[in-house]
Symmetry: C3
Subunit: 114 residues, 3 copies
Amino acid sequence: MDITRFEPSNLYSAAVSAHGFLFVSGITPKNRQGDVRAQTREVLAEIDRLLALGGFDRSRIVSAMIWVSDIRLRDAMNEEWVGWVGDHRPARACVEAKLADPAMLVEIQVTAAA
Amino acid sequence: MDITRFEPSNLYSAAVSAHGFLFVSGITPKNRQGDVRAQTREVLAEIDRLLALGGFDRSRIVSAMIWVSDIRLRDAMNEEWVGWVGDHRPARACVEAKLADPAMLVEIQVTAAA
Amino acid sequence: MDITRFEPSNLYSAAVSAHGFLFVSGITPKNRQGDVRAQTREVLAEIDRLLALGGFDRSRIVSAMIWVSDIRLRDAMNEEWVGWVGDHRPARACVEAKLADPAMLVEIQVTAAA
């Protein structure tokens, strides 16, 4: 069966589809000046864009992994997440981790099903 | 194909099934007074319950992600894990991470296949 | 449908296949004397070996999770990764985490599709 790779950079593809699933890379904000709410909004908008590349949308997300750079940012991140995810809540885990750039406060990775 | 969401809360679903897989959320203990062994037992019992909601059981787990709040707790967690998982050992990774509440010592996320 | 477990140890299987996917465990280096580049090369060679057990190869990897013990090791790890992954770039996330042994500098987990 076919594997489709969307927007490959030198290190990874932004998303990859196979067997009816779309695997999206961990997405971090490009604009790192904002607070965790602004960064979360940017990440979720980018996830919307990447899901659409594969013909998916946020209602098809089945699992999500969220890293915050400080676990105390979880509540503020969640306030943005709740409005975005609506009734289509995936399985999820959220833990603290140091991300690629200290100015990144949040990274979100999702998997969607056709 | 259908996506089924089990026990949705405001942030996520406890488990989501799609294309023959069940994605269970990262499960943490509700009782945070106990040591890591007691917390692991509670988490694994909750995973048993959630797997059953989707018609799965622990013999169908294909991959597991485990976070411990201190990597030195890994051996004690593993002692509970070994007895629970029996011969049906999934692919697995286990790393240290700060969890949502400092009293949480372990979080476990599994994926099962029909 | 069948679940096949490859190289089960007492805690987990090195890889598990189900529904056309191969879930490989988080792989860490056995030789922990080397720098992160040497450790990454060893881990990637072991992933090649495990993929082959299930009839897969690195061109079939759809997603990868990478943990480095210090996020500043990411660039050196990436230099090995780029040469290995070639044009078949999976979706990916990479964060810092404390691993099972302080001498381990990198752990990589992949999922492949038939």
